[in-house]
Every structure is written in structure tokens, then in C-alpha cells.
Subunit: 108 residues, 2 copies
DNA sequence: CATATATATCGATGTCTGTCAATATGTCGT
DNA sequence: ACGACATATTGACAGACATCGATATATATG
């Protein structure tokens, strides 16, 4: 029987794939990727939840939930100042994901 | 009343966010990101389903389902040759996602 | 202390999706 | 034409998750 193709050699391990997938899953939500983009373009690099609910058209608990997801995944860090909690992007975290997506592509 | 912070200016639109999120969602699965990485490192740049089920430890229908997802999202293209269907990465499609993740980051 | 404001947590719910078994379709050999 | 093999499709199901209302916690102000 003729072989189908040369057997698979490289590629991510199961564990590596799980890690990368869970990173991407955090960003793969319209609300969250939008929050990230808003943080990236915010004048002082930080925003509070109260300014996010309106543009996102989401309830406060939902936004708070997304913030927690982003924080636990290391994409943002949060600091309480008075009544408000300010959130900002963690430097280089996004670039880290971009690098992880730089899989060796065949030379076309 | 003191303002919380300067109002949100930029950021992705709702529609842009949906598009980017749906792109990322396709990659945000352990099996699919692994398939992509395997295609990226495959010797001839292509593999068939039959060689994927074993390393992924998934059933043939499941792998076929993931292939369809990847194809419809433009990450792979597939060509039937005899009994087999060979899949390969679409050039630059992954890089396109990386670029979309290159949001303007604050200068730290 | 009481009230108002900002955020977090909890519980419930509806939707989405990854998975498989069963089956269908397509292709090659004999 | 028939059987063997590779892939695709369908239907069903279980688990994950985005969302919200209600409620709790924290902080400032009067």
C-alpha cells in the first residue's frame, strides 16, 4: 500500500497546545479583545470599569468578569485608587502571544 | 464629582472586534492550534487527516470537523489527491492574525 | 453613622461547541 | 461491480462560558 504522506515530526506537544489555546481563548472574545484594544489606546494607558460598560454595552458584572479573566491570564494588572479600580495592559504580554503564533512557516 | 478617568477614545469597533475574536476563536482550541503547528512543521508543508488522528488522539470525524473550521476561516486549503485529502497552511494567514494583534501598545 | 458610588461575587440560564457513533460519499484495486 | 479504505456529514450529547439580576464589599462624602 502506498503511503499517504511522510509521518508527522514536529508540532506543539499536547501541553504546549493547551497553554497556547487557553491564552488565545481569553483574547477570542469580542468584549475582551475590545477591552484590550481600548487599554492599548487609552491616553494614560489605564481605564476603570465605569468607563467601559457604556461603550461595550454590557452590564457592570459582565465587564468585571472579563477583567478578572484578563487579569488571571496576565494581560492586565489592576490597582485600586479610591472608589475606582484602574486597569492597564501588562507590558509585552500581547507580544508574547504574537511570538507564540510565530510558528515556523514553510518557505513559500 | 471628580472624574474617574479620561473618556475612552479609540479601540476596535464592535464589528472589528467580532471579526478578530472569531479569527482567534478558531485558533483557540488545543486540537486546532496543534494541527496548525503540525502543518507548519510538516516536511512538504502538507498532511492528510489519516496522519493526524493518531497524534491528536481524536476520532476521524472530529479531526475532519476541525479541518473544516480551519478551512472556512482561511487558515488552510485542502486538495484531494486520490483517496487522500492533503491540507496545507494558507501563506500569510497566520501572520495576518499576528498583525491584527499588534495593537498600539503604550510606550513603557 | 447613613447614603451614594464603584466594583466584586454568586447563582441561574441560555447558547455555543468539541466530541463521538453512525452513516454517507468518494476513490482505488481487483 | 464489489470490497476496502479515506474523508465528510449528520445527529446527539455533555461541558464550557457569556450574560444578567441580586447581592456583597469597599470607599468616599455629608
Amino acid at each position: 500500500m502506498e503511503m499517504c504522506c511522510t509521518p508527522i515530526a514536529g508540532g506543539l506537544s499536547g501541553e504546549e497546545a493547551e497553554d497556547l489555546a487557553s491564552m488565545l481563548k481569553i483574547l477570542a472574545d469580542p468584549a475582551r479583545i475590545r477591552i484590550v484594544s481600548m487599554l492599548a489606546t487609552a491616553v494614560d494607558g489605564e481605564v476603570c470599569v465605569c468607563d467601559l460598560t457604556a461603550p461595550l454595552e454590557l452590564s457592570q458584572p459582565t465587564v468585571s468578569h472579563h477583567m478578572k479573566q484578563l487579569r488571571e491570564a496576565g494581560f492586565i494588572e489592576s490597582e485600586r485608587r479610591g472608589k475606582w479600580v484602574f486597569h492597564r495592559l501588562v507590558p509585552d504580554r500581547l507580544a508574547q502571544v504574537r511570538r507564540a503564533l510565530s510558528l515556523p512557516e514553510p518557505a513559500f
